[in-house]
């Protein structure tokens, strides 16, 4: 009963974006104009550990440029599933997106997912909520895979292992 390998859509090779355009985006996110986008500004949507090379607790402009590709990859995915172009993904669109990634989750569960990630309380997920949801799913999958040594989609864990697995991610 394998088939549990979700994957992100292959990123497209875009031409490097215009620097002026990037700077505008950067400034919009860097609300306190410190020249650094802090953790709270970037929110949990992006995994700072991936981009903050000097462990400053934030990313400077150069590092942010590296973040940009990551964002545009996610944007492309989001736009693919935001079929009505509302800027939000509703329950059905979320289901299509995650099913497209390879997850098999019950309909009832999507109600829970929206409830959990819908920060704007609209009954739908915005772009940043969507990213966070996908990142958490990915991290849970990674931790599951580490324990699934024979790759059959099943793990057997002790109570302590289970708690450690989960508290490391959520």
């Amino acid at each position: 009963m394998a088939c549990h390998s979700p994957y992100r859509a292959a990123p497209h090779m875009n031409a490097p974006p215009d620097q002026g355009f990037l700077w505008n985006i950067f400034q919009r996110v860097d609300k306190d104009r410190s020249g650094v986008i802090s953790d709270s500004e970037l929110q949990q949507a992006l995994s700072n550990a991936m981009f903050d090379r000097e462990n400053k607790g934030g990313v400077n402009f150069n590092e942010f440029a590296g973040v940009w590709k990551y964002i545009t990859d996610w944007q492309n995915i989001f736009r693919t599933y935001d079929r009505d172009n509302s800027g939000f993904i509703d329950r059905n669109e979320l289901k299509q997106a995650l099913t497209g990634f390879g997850y098999r989750l019950s309909d009832q569960f999507y109600i829970t997912l929206i409830e959990k990630f819908d920060r704007q309380r609209k009954g739908q997920v915005a772009f940043d909520d969507f990213i966070q949801c996908c990142i958490v799913l990915q991290r849970l999958t990674d931790v599951f895979r580490r324990y699934d040594t024979d790759q059959d989609g099943w793990i057997q864990v002790s109570y302590e292992q289970y708690l450690s697995m989960v508290f490391n991610v959520v």
Binding site: H4, T112, G153, W154, Q156, Y159, L163, S164, F167
Partner: protein
């Protein structure tokens, strides 16, 4: 989906229960409350005392902990149950918050977890402590969030530990759904 151990049936009319006043004032006609209504209800009923009110995410967790029909809402019986549980956790927290600062230390969280009956390895406790502390201290809201998750995860684990040996099997889809909903 039978579920034992969640309190006896209704004893005495709910209308006589002081908690019912707080609950029904917010629940309205359908007799259920959502996460933001729970936040208001608990604040008004004074469970947090002099501590900060619960944030919305913690309220969502509390509803999820008792949400058997996966409706993402809570009825009065569950609210009562939650109230008792919260009182217990608050008592534990207060006993460690000796200076009344509204926070406890990481070490104290580990002691509190053990005193609540969870027997975890130092690594597991350390992991939890890191997850819930801000600058080495844990606020009441985060403490409750931790307790809710511990309780919910333990319930989920127990249901899958069919041989009662402290080991459980999870299929991937199940693991994702259980963990993501907590």
């Amino acid at each position: 989906m039978a579920f034992s151990g969640y309190g006896a049936g209704p004893g005495g009319a709910p209308q006589q229960d002081p908690l019912f006043g707080y609950f029904s004032a917010i629940a309205g006609q359908d007799g259920h409350i959502s996460a933001d209504e729970l936040q208001r209800c608990l604040t008004q009923a004074g469970i947090t005392g002099s501590y900060q009110p619960f944030n919305l995410e913690t309220c969502r967790l509390m509803i999820n902990m008792l949400d058997r029909d996966m409706s993402c809402t809570m009825g009065f019986q569950e609210f009562k149950e939650l109230w008792q549980v919260l009182n217990g956790w608050r008592g534990t927290f207060v006993s460690y918050d000796r200076d009344g600062s509204g926070t406890i230390e990481g070490q104290e969280l580990e002691h509190a977890i053990t005193s609540m009956g969870y027997h975890l390895s130092p690594q597991a406790k350390n992991c939890i402590m890191k997850r819930y502390s801000t600058n080495g201290r844990i606020r009441f809201d985060d403490f409750v969030s931790c307790c809710v998750r511990l309780r919910a995860l333990t319930d989920q684990f127990r249901r899958r530990d069919t041989t009662q040996t402290g080991n459980a099997s999870f299929h991937y889809d199940d693991f994702i759904q259980v963990t993501m909903s907590i």
